[in-house]
């Protein structure tokens, strides 16, 4: 029967070939787009370098980051082997920056990852079930949303006493509301689409529909938003440390370093600005990479 053959066959009758669409999987498409995006690739490399430096800190840091030396306080860049100078207690800036990367990356990534998991689950549940469940979850989330993130982080962290652990908890709580909201919005949108109805029509259970259909479609916006939150998290973590609510001395941390070096800015301005530069570069890199990922992961051609 002529109508059952493949639709591009008649074209071959006249020696013409049908337009050639290369069959690429989604992952291949994303990789292909990323490969042709120089800005994203560059900043991805920057992030990787920072991450590697943080991981290999014990091996690449030239000095012990906690070793003080009152003789060498606030020395400028390049002074006698201290490649980036020293801080107000005579510790090597470069080593402290490298070790500080560990803290900053942990304080930046962990809350976002935790908040994505928790907030995402809450949001998908609220979005999929709608009605009262949705109302309950989203109104509670809205209460947290009403506070500016910095104040909220400070308040929670301050109430629990300072320290890395409490700082992490505070940051996680701050990030759950926006991620929950994004998850809820996309889930609600996806839930009303035809293919979800078709899945229900084939007799699938709610769990199966969520896992196979809803999650895949809601995950992308969630992931992209989460990656843009990393840069914010790094800034917030630095802010907490700046206020003394984050890590405890003598652990190296960029925010705390900034805070301590504040008074010395007139003595060695360049050295004092270094932690700020580090925060800026890291935050910016995550921001731009997340942007690039968003463009690359767009499903429509």
């Amino acid at each position: 029967m002529t109508d059952v053959i493949s639709t591009d066959a008649p074209a071959l009758r006249h020696g013409l070939s049908a337009p050639d669409i290369k069959v690429r999987s989604y992952l291949q498409t994303v990789t292909h787009r990323l490969r042709h995006d120089p800005v994203t690739l560059f900043f991805l490399a920057v992030i990787l370098i920072i991450a590697l430096a943080a991981i290999c800190a014990p091996w690449i840091a030239p000095f012990d980051p906690n070793k003080t030396g009152t003789l060498y306080r606030l020395k400028p860049i390049g002074f006698r082997g201290f490649i980036l100078g020293t801080d107000e207690l005579g510790r090597d800036m470069l080593s402290r920056l490298i070790y500080g990367a560990r803290t900053s990356l942990v304080m930046g990534l962990t809350p976002v990852v935790l908040a994505t998991v928790i907030g995402g689950t809450l949001g998908v549940t609220a979005g999929f079930h709608g009605g009262r469940v949705n109302m309950c979850i989203m109104r509670i989330v809205d209460v947290f949303y009403a506070f500016p993130s910095v104040l909220l982080a400070v308040a929670i962290s301050g109430t629990m006493g300072g320290g890395i652990q409490n700082g992490l908890i505070a940051l996680t709580l701050v990030f759950i509301p926006p991620l929950c909201r994004i998850a809820e919005t996309t889930t609600t949108q996806v839930r009303s689409l035809d293919f979800v109805e078709a899945a229900r029509a084939s007799g699938a259970s709610s769990a199966s529909i969520i896992i196979h259909h809803v999650l895949a479609n809601a995950a992308a916006p969630l992931f992209i938003y989460a990656s843009s939150l990393i840069s914010v998290a790094i800034l917030l973590a630095a802010g907490l440390s700046f206020l003394g609510l984050g890590v405890e001395p003598p652990t190296a941390d960029w925010g705390m370093m900034l805070s301590n070096l504040r008074q010395a800015i007139y003595v060695q301005p360049l050295v004092c600005a270094l932690p700020g530069v580090a925060i800026f570069i890291t935050s910016l890199s995550f921001n731009l990479v997340s942007d690039g990922l968003r463009q690359a992961m767009d499903v429509r051609a």
């Binding site: 059952v4 069959v23 035809d194 293919f195 109805e197 899945a199 084939s202 007799g203 499903v299």
Partner: protein
């Protein structure tokens, strides 16, 4: 068997294949309609105000009853607001109905001793209108098709084989199209995938909700041919919902006309299209555009827009636009009449029933006749 064939095929479809006796899924026999729908009703509440209380309701589907016979294609036509899409979703149990019952091949659906929803879904599937959201954009089409069987317990490899076989059946080469994503396919190809997905569970009945409406005309023809082919070879029964009268005429055996949530006319396709009994059906058919420029219409057959389904007119809902409306039409809602017989042609109109109180009742065989009576 031959006796059944003659009943089935006379008077209007000499080439129709009767349902084969050997169909293992058949439980009720040839005379049993595949689907009986009784008094289906769905009102949507309109909420407003501070506490979201019920302010009114949209009477989307109002006491609709009909049967679908084995092996036939029942076309459902109506304009926007008539409730046909809601009806489709009620049949598939995608939305719960307020009242009403469904009987599938002799077994009540949803009852304790009858057919469970899960079993119903193996027998009845839906093909949606082609849209950007009819297929999951993140799954290769093969997996979209295989999802249904997997849900019902099939192993992954077997489901994939089923999916590939179906791709072949709908005219798409599995090697070429299996791993493509929906956005890489044209409208007609996506619709074929929709059909394949609906067939994956080996259903006996397909509900096609505006399945070809969004396609270009040339592609529409291809898909309609495919549907005819599949119906013959897979022993299917179709419920074909569309606003396009010509398509419904081509593909249906019987036609059901809906207006504002109610069934206004039902009967064999030729009878309805050549001699409609209900004024609305007649006006609808006259509104079709002719391809011959010499036969242009100078006057619109029906004026105005359909009234609000929130507060439909009392009695017969069509009376506000009907040329033959009289006092009795506002008082009493006309009944449709018994119509499980394959050749029954019924209309819910006071003019059709004798002794209804209408001045033209019983005397006019069709609306054209009624025009003659008036003049």
């Amino acid at each position: 068997m031959t006796e059944d064939k003659s009943i089935v095929s006379a008077p209007f479809r000499p080439k129709l294949e009767a349902v084969r006796d050997e169909d293992p899924r058949d439980r009720g026999g040839n005379r049993q309609p595949l689907l009986i729908v009784n008094q289906l009703r769905k009102y949507f509440p309109i909420r407003g105000g501070i506490f979201n209380h019920r302010r009114g309701e949209v009477r989307a589907v109002d006491s609709v009853s009909f049967s679908v016979l084995k092996g036939e294609t029942l076309g459902i036509v109506g304009e926007s607001g008539c409730g046909k899409s809601t009806l489709a979703r009620l049949l598939m149990h995608l939305i719960p109905c307020d009242t009403g019952e469904q009987i599938f091949d002799g077994e009540a659906v949803g009852e304790l001793r009858g057919l469970s929803l899960r079993e119903l879904r193996r027998n009845m599937q839906m093909v949606f209108q082609d849209s950007s959201s009819s297929l999951n954009p993140r799954l290769p089409v093969e997996q979209s098709i295989a999802y249904g069987p997997r849900v019902h317990g099939m192993a992954r490899a077997e489901a994939k084989a089923v999916a590939r076989d179906l791709l072949d059946k709908v005219g798409l080469r599995p090697e070429l199209f299996g791993s493509r994503y929906p956005h890489e396919l044209s409208g007609g190809q996506k619709q074929r995938i929709n059909i394949a997905r609906a067939l994956a569970l080996n259903p006996r009945m397909l509900i096609l909700d505006e399945a070809v409406s969004a396609l270009d005309k040339s592609v529409q023809a291809q898909v309609l041919n495919l549907l005819r082919y599949l119906k013959r070879h897979l022993n299917l029964t179709y419920v074909f919902i569309s606003h396009d009268l010509s398509v419904v005429q081509y593909i249906s055996d019987r036609v059901l006309v809906m207006y504002l949530g109610e069934v206004v006319e039902i009967g064999p396709v030729d009878a309805i299209y050549t001699a409609p009994k209900h004024p609305y059906t007649a006006a609808l058919l006259r509104s079709r555009l002719n391809l011959n420029p010499a036969e242009r219409l100078a006057e619109a057959p029906l004026s105005g827009d359909p009234p609000n389904p929130i507060n439909p007119p009392s009695g017969c809902r069509f009376r506000t636009r009907c040329n033959f409306a009289e006092a009795v039409c506002a008082d009493r809602s006309p009944a449709l009449g018994e119509h499980t017989n394959r050749s029954a042609h019924r209309a819910a109109c006071h003019m059709v029933h004798a002794d209804s109180g209408h001045s033209l009742s019983g005397r006019a065989a069709s609306v054209e006749g009624a025009h003659g009576q008036r003049n």
